[in-house]
């Protein structure tokens, strides 16, 4: 399972991507990232929360107090700006990964 340096620099994109399937709280996001990455990514909470608050300040996420898992929780969801940022990140990541494949000599 990857954590720390290998995913540094991609945290915001991962958070946006994990929220595209619907709103959830911080704990739910960690579980969702683990599931979506098939266990490859274990995003630590000490990294997640600064990212969530940063993205919210940037207008890419919004949070509300909602009832989840039997109690009131702060739940995050994508804003239209966040959805647009996610689309742009998909394109940029696609270009970057193809470039790296070309440089490293992988198939593609």
């Amino acid at each position: 399972m990857l954590g720390g340096d290998p995913i540094r620099g991609h945290v915001d994109s991962m958070v946006l991507g994990a929220l595209q399937s619907g709103p959830t709280h911080g704990y739910g996001l960690v579980l969702r990232l683990r599931e979506l990455s098939q266990g490859a990514f274990d995003l630590k909470e000490g990294t997640l929360y600064p990212a969530l608050h940063r993205l919210e300040r940037a207008g890419k996420l919004e949070s509300t107090r909602s009832r989840a898992s039997g109690r009131e929780r702060r739940v995050y969801s994508l804003t239209p700006l966040g959805e647009q940022a996610l689309q742009e990140e998909r394109v940029a990541w696609s270009a970057f990964s193809r470039g790296m494949r070309g440089v490293l000599g992988g198939s593609g």
């Binding site: 000490g46 929360y49 998909r90």
Partner: protein
Amino acid sequence: MTPRDVAGFLAELEQRLRGNAAHRAQVIAEIADHLDDLVSEARADGCDQAAAEARAVARFGSARRLARGLGRRSRARWATRIALALGALGICGGFVYVQLRAAAPVVGVYVSNDQRYAGAQPAATAPSAGTAAAALTGLSAVPETQRADLSGAQRAGVDSLASAVGVDAGSLLTRTLASRLGSDGKGSLSVFVHGGSECITAVVGNMTGGSCMPSFDAAHPVDVEISRAQDGSAAVYGLRPDAVTGVSIQLGDGSTVKPLLGPNYYYADLPSRSTAVLGLAVTFNDGTRTTIPWDRPGADPTR
């Protein structure tokens, strides 16, 4: 040292958090909820209460660092940090990958991690890491709507970016000019500066975006990706030069999808993961059209 129990961790975090009381209370409540979940998870794994709390707290790291990460920073402080990061990027190096279009202007810089895109005139001064950082930050300062033909400064901008990462932009430009310039003038040139996990793209020519792929031309007018997710959703997307003014995606059931056209990309959701894509119809800004058949499922059909 950060306490290993939940109550101690929350107390230290509250003490170190900045902002007003309401903000601090909101953050503490949120973190406390999360710690509750982590403790329950650890208890379910067989940990006793003390071990469960220690495991939960460890995932948050130090309270001091978390408080700093949750702090509200000023715009000026962020600008300083970005400038320093760009300078460090230039000093640390990486590599520059150049696609081409001769005598075309630098029209923008895309900084992937910040999701920013803007165009401006780069600094036309002696190449250095500091100059590259200044050029990049300068580029990002001008609104996208105010992009203009900057051909007088385009080469200086490319030079300064390339020099910052130790690459001779002149030789790259000459080489790629000879090998990749499209005879139809629909090619583009982009400079990609990679360092660590950052990917900064300076775009030259008709494109308002960039791709780490060979140049776009009449035969390869757009790049194409199909994403088919496990949840059943699917999408088609890619980078789009300015010369491409329309894209239509042809589906297996005979229907077509008009994607959203962004400033440097197009994007369309497909009806489902199993939807077949037969190809793309592309319209250029001179009114000509071309159809790209999808002969390599799962790969870019234009390559």
